[in-house]
């Protein structure tokens, strides 16, 4: 499967930024001539994140021509060095009801990846984070039979159907975002996501107008924003 070239650009840019942060930290420590004070967590943390923005936005913008829904949860677990292992999953659907094109889609999706917190801990139980991360996403899509019509001034309306199809979407993501602990164990935060469809060639013939977890399948690059409320379990 061909991978869009700009994915590499983004990955290397992020890697380069991380190197710079590391270098600056080293320079500061040299000037002060003190070993860097590294605060490590004393507990394990597993956090459940509920995406509230996607259902909310869909509730606002659905109309008689387009209905879409998407729900997702994510779990993150703090590994060493403020790196979090992230598992995300969800499902959704879309209902396209244009005058000349009608079909429905349903899909489930999963994402796996890591986030790296860029925020230095102020104390061991400081779990606030400003992070960047990467993901691999997969979506299993079922598109219904589509009906279409074409219209011209000479010959009138022609109608037809396109058979149903099962599709699989693979995509890569760059994430940036934050989580702030508002109350003990309760967080709010957001993710900004740049998504890159890896197998865009599979979506040339009637790509779903909306794939939960990804977005418009006819676009090979999609930007998204998710607002999360989270609860953390610590032990």
């Amino acid at each position: 499967m061909p991978i869009p070239k700009n994915i590499y650009n983004y990955f290397f840019s992020i890697a380069f930024l991380l190197c710079n942060v590391q270098t600056l930290a080293q320079e500061d420590s040299t000037k002060q001539k003190k070993p860097p004070l590294k605060i490590t967590p004393v507990q394990h943390q597993l956090r459940l994140n509920v995406n509230l923005s996607t259902p909310l936005i869909n509730a606002f913008v659905n109309d008689s021509l387009t209905k879409r829904s998407g729900y997702d949860l994510s779990l993150d677990y703090c590994l060493k060095n403020d790196v979090y292992l992230v598992l995300e999953g969800g499902f959704g659907s879309s209902d396209i009801n244009y005058k000349d094109l009608k079909y429905t889609t349903r899909n489930g999706f999963a994402r796996i990846g890591v986030d790296k917190s860029m925020l230095q801990r102020l104390f061991p139980n400081d779990w606030d984070m400003l992070f960047i991360g990467i993901r691999y996403g997969i979506g299993l899509i079922q598109r219904s039979e589509a009906s279409f019509s074409t219209d011209d001034q000479f010959w009138g309306v022609t109608t037809g159907t396109i058979p149903p199809k099962k599709l699989t979407a693979h995509w890569a993501e760059l994430n940036a975002g934050m989580r702030v602990e508002l109350l003990k164990g309760f967080f709010a935060g957001y993710n900004i996501r740049a998504k890159f469809l890896i197998n865009d060639k599979a979506f040339r013939e009637l790509p779903p107008a909306y794939v939960a977890g990804y977005g418009k399948a006819e676009k090979s690059t999609v930007f998204d924003f998710n607002f999360y409320l989270s609860y953390a379990l610590r032990w």
Partner: protein, 161 residues
């Protein structure tokens, strides 16, 4: 601990919700697939081909009874092939003052073409042959068999009078 950036993310959240929309995007691709024809004549002495402007020509799509009357003298025409069948017929009256028609029958293969979710589908055509009568026409020459939404492609059919 609540950091100042918490305020920032609330602002971003609100802006995002307000700016989001799933309205159908406007269709920015050409949907019409036109058959382009030109009228020509051959000058016998030099065998050069020149445009032959027809006075008030009339085209009739025979199977749909749609007539296309050109009000001015012209040598360039645009027609639409039928996506309902693999052939269609047009009658051409080159001069509105002369009650004489030629019939052109186009045979083609239809190809369903997805444009985008915004534009839907259209049909492209591959012309396999053209048959005509010779009341006014001398001959026809099929130059370009592919009829698609490319308006800059070579003219499809030359009509010689």
């Amino acid at each position: 601990m609540i950091r100042p950036s918490f305020i920032l993310f609330i602002c971003i959240s609100l802006l995002t919700i307000v700016s989001c929309s799933v309205d159908r995007d406007p269709c920015l691709l050409p949907k019409t697939t036109s058959l382009r024809l030109g009228a020509y004549q051959v000058i016998d002495s030099s065998q050069t081909v020149t445009d032959s402007a027809l006075p008030h020509p009339l085209w009739i799509a025979i199977d749909s009874n749609i007539a296309l009357q050109y009000p001015e003298k012209t040598s360039k025409f645009t027609l639409l092939l039928s996506s309902l069948a693999d052939s269609c017929r047009f009658a051409l009256q080159p001069d509105s003052a002369v009650a004489s028609f030629d019939t052109l029958t186009f045979y083609y293969q239809r190809q369903l073409q997805f444009l985008s979710n915004s534009c839907g589908y259209t049909y492209y055509f591959n012309i396999t042959s053209v048959k005509n009568t010779f009341h006014n026409l001398d001959s026809v020459k099929l130059q370009n068999t592919t009829v698609n939404s490319d308006a800059n492609s070579k003219e499809h059919l030359q009509l010689f009078f």
